[in-house]
């Protein structure tokens, strides 16, 4: 992973001092609430329902054991002993005291961490594929480019007060595991016929209230032009994006209002002036950044020893992923155990996972946008031992890619924006689908829950998406099906469609069960996934079942019980 140089280190240290002074002035009353708000937000500090929430940056999801131990330490000392991994690969602390935040940041700076630009109307943490650098299907390693983008976007003076937040994601393989199509800028790294590295650039994707798939405005942008081209896009957005209405301020609205082609023409015209300018990424610059990345020293390994325990085999099937180096594998530690809020990890678990990463994966790990952790470089022969340890920590639920691997925002339990709670709904669904055989039979299914239209839980791109809505002060849930983040090569990202009227929290598990029943009846084979069936037969058969007037039999579970 990338190691800071003196400049990187100085930047985070100076930022700590600056934020300490800003906090001091706010507490002394010389900085107004509104002015401090803009400053604290761009440092990841929200004022939430119960307490402030601090969002700590984990640039493109890469984390070292040392950093994770520090996070554990901070969670114990300044919070309630746990943290929440978010869909932007960051870590959120839910209970810090505002007065302590400068001290927390100072602690983080000692391990090359910070909370810079994790919120606010600026360029946010860059996200990428959690298998970056190790995926067998990878064309270009996106990590290097993520770091170049991180350095460029950190305190970029021109783009500190954009109309709205700005999210960039990078993927380097055809299977888009970074959901680039639903980002303000999505970058697909690729190579042209002559082997040159470049990017397919899409703009104006996004979730939130008006979900949209991004528009490709350039099929191939040579890599050296990456920053000048992005400056052109951001400048057009900064100057002409809507500032009169918070809900119309994202770049997707500008792209839509202008039309994709007209927007592209504007960007190209702006870029004509910036191209080959000072922000051009020279070979030297690429080399400078590349040279600060450490790479795992892989061994030449023989085949793995296979375990035979069926639970191990189930885990191996779901949570172990291919690696480009023979004898190695990537392992997902599931933070989606039934009964635990999705994405939450206790300080003790953090310490233990830091140890696992040290012993099994070169002291590094990654945070996924699906709110799990990945040990990316595990010797296959160690899988069984790792599994046993992970199991002891409650981190070996074999559910990656399955229905209970739920993405969920913190929801109404914590967030002041939420209309409804997410976590209890996620837990109720996990409980309903706790039977592993049944879960495996249902097969691949992404279920995402957001507590409000802001869509932090990415409900629009879940195969099943659940959105919390407020009806006269009560929590209701709207269900969508057919969304997809485009993770399967060749299958484009898609937005879900609402099945019908919203339902109460208690009804949600039943609704999911009915959707699954329709799927199991209609699929032509086990190979046809839920999402494939939705795309083949449409929403209507699902809708008919969910809202059928006659009382529905409690489907699979009861039938299974009767049969037993």
């Amino acid at each position: 992973m990338y190691r800071y140089d003196e400049i990187d280190q100085r930047v985070v240290e100076e930022r700590v001092a600056q934020f300490r002074d800003q906090t001091r002035r706010f507490l002394a009353g010389t900085l107004s609430e509104e002015e401090f708000r803009a400053l604290r937000l761009r440092n990841g500090l929200y004022v939430q329902k119960h307490a402030p929430m601090l969002r700590i940056a984990i640039p493109y999801g890469m984390l070292s054991s040392r950093q994770l131990r520090k996070l554990a330490d901070v969670a114990r000392t300044y919070d309630r002993g746990y943290g929440h991994f978010s869909t932007r690969q960051n870590l959120q602390l839910n209970w810090p005291r505002l007065e302590d935040v400068p001290e927390i940041l100072a602690e983080l700076a000692t391990v090359q961490m910070h909370a810079i630009q994790t919120s606010g109307n600026c360029v946010r943490n860059i996200t990428t594929d959690h298998f970056a650098g190790i995926a067998p299907d990878e064309v270009v390693d996106p990590l290097l480019w993520c770091e170049i983008l991180r350095q460029w976007s950190t305190f970029h003076p021109e783009f500190t007060y954009l109309p709205r937040k700005f999210k960039i994601a990078v993927s380097g393989s055809a299977a888009d595991r970074a959901a680039t199509a639903v980002h303000d800028i999505g970058l697909m790294a690729l190579r042209n016929e002559s082997g040159e590295t470049g990017f397919r650039v899409s703009v104006g994707g996004g979730l939130g209230r008006a979900p949209m798939i991004g528009t490709v405005i350039r099929e191939f942008l040579p890599a050296r032009h990456l920053l000048t081209y992005l400056e052109a896009i951001l400048r057009i957005y900064n100057r002409f994006g809507r500032r009169d209405n918070l809900h119309k301020a994202r770049i997707k609205v500008l792209v839509k209002e202008r039309g994709g082609e007209a927007f592209r023409d504007e960007v190209e015209a702006e870029w004509a002036h910036l191209k080959d300018g000072p922000a051009t990424v020279t070979d030297d610059e690429v080399e400078r950044v590349r040279s600060r990345f450490t790479r795992p020293a892989y061994e030449k390994l023989a085949e793995e020893k296979m375990g035979t325990d069926p639970i191990f085999l189930a885990w191996r099937r779901r949570n172990v992923h291919p690696h480009r180096v023979p004898g190695y594998a990537a392992v997902t530690l599931s933070l989606k155990k039934t009964g635990v809020p999705p994405g939450d990890l206790t300080a003790a678990q953090m310490d233990a996972v830091a140890g696992l990463a040290e012993r099994y994966s070169f002291g590094e790990l990654r945070v996924t946008h699906e709110q799990n952790l990945v040990l990316a470089d595990v010797r296959r022969r160690d899988l069984h031992a790792l599994w046993s340890e992970a199991r002891g920590l409650g981190l070996a639920t074999p559910n990656v890619g399955l229905l209970t691997n739920i993405i969920a925002c913190p929801g109404g339990d914590f967030c002041s924006l939420a209309n409804a709670r997410s976590i209890p709904v996620a837990q109720a669904i996990q409980q309903r689908f706790d039977d592993l055989d049944h879960l495996f039979d249902i097969g691949e299914l992404d279920l995402n829950i957001s507590g409000c239209m802001n869509a932090c839980g990415h409900h629009h791109v879940g195969h099943i998406g659940i959105l919390g809505v407020d009806k006269n002060g009560e929590e209701w849930y709207q269900v969508e099906i057919g969304g997809s983040q485009g993770r399967v090569p060749g299958a484009a990202a898609a937005l879900g469609r609402v099945v019908g009227p919203s339902v109460s929290a208690e009804e949600v598990p039943d609704v999911i069960e009915r959707l699954i029943d329709v799927y199991l009846q209609k699929r032509d084979s086990e190979a046809e996934r839920f999402i494939d069936v939705v795309h083949r037969i449409g929403v209507t058969p699902f809708k008919d079942r969910v809202y059928a007037k006659t009382a529905q039999p409690r489907a699979h579970r009861e039938r299974a019980l009767e049969a037993a």
Partner: protein
């Protein structure tokens, strides 16, 4: 107390705003003439006045500056930049970041080398970024402490960005 920072120190003001808005200075009176500009004053005028009466403005003894609003296109004053001694960009709200892009355009694309001033809701915590986009003078909002604000220029001495650029 002076609220102007220029080139890293507290400065005194010699510029005057043209009073009464653009319409007054473009309206033809009953005598068939538009009003005369003050001859000796260093004047900051709206874009519309500059565009319509540039030659008169520049033939005065006093210097001429222009005030851009965030929605103004810097291209429209490009032809006058060589003769302008000051370009001011107004920030109606500190969180409206359009002026940062306008500043870079003026400096980098149109090679403007004169004084570039931020006016309006100009606060200490934005100074550093404004400076990095090319502003070299700052008319602080009334409640700001200019001496304290000077410190802000040194808060982040280095940037990753400056190195990458």
């Amino acid at each position: 107390m002076q609220k102007l920072l220029s080139h890293g120190r507290i400065a005194s003001e010699h510029w005057k705003r043209l009073e009464g808005g653009a319409a007054r200075w473009l309206a033809v009176g009953e005598d068939g003439f538009v009003p005369d500009f003050p001859y000796e004053a260093d004047l900051i005028v709206p874009v519309a006045v500059l565009k319509r009466r540039a030659d008169e403005l520049f033939s005065r003894q006093g210097s001429t500056g222009v005030l851009l609003e965030a929605e103004d296109d810097p291209r429209t004053i490009a032809a006058h930049l060589e003769r302008l001694s000051l370009v001011a960009i107004r920030f109606a709200k500190f969180s409206d970041g359009r002026g940062y892009s306008i500043a870079r355009l003026l400096r980098e694309r149109y090679r403007y080398g004169g004084e570039l001033r931020a006016v309006g809701d100009v606060l200490r915590d934005q100074l550093l970024f404004l400076k990095r986009c090319g502003f070299d003078s700052f008319e602080l909002r009334e409640d700001q402490d200019p001496a304290a604000a000077l410190v802000a220029f040194n808060e982040l001495a280095v940037t990753c960005h400056a190195r990458a650029a």
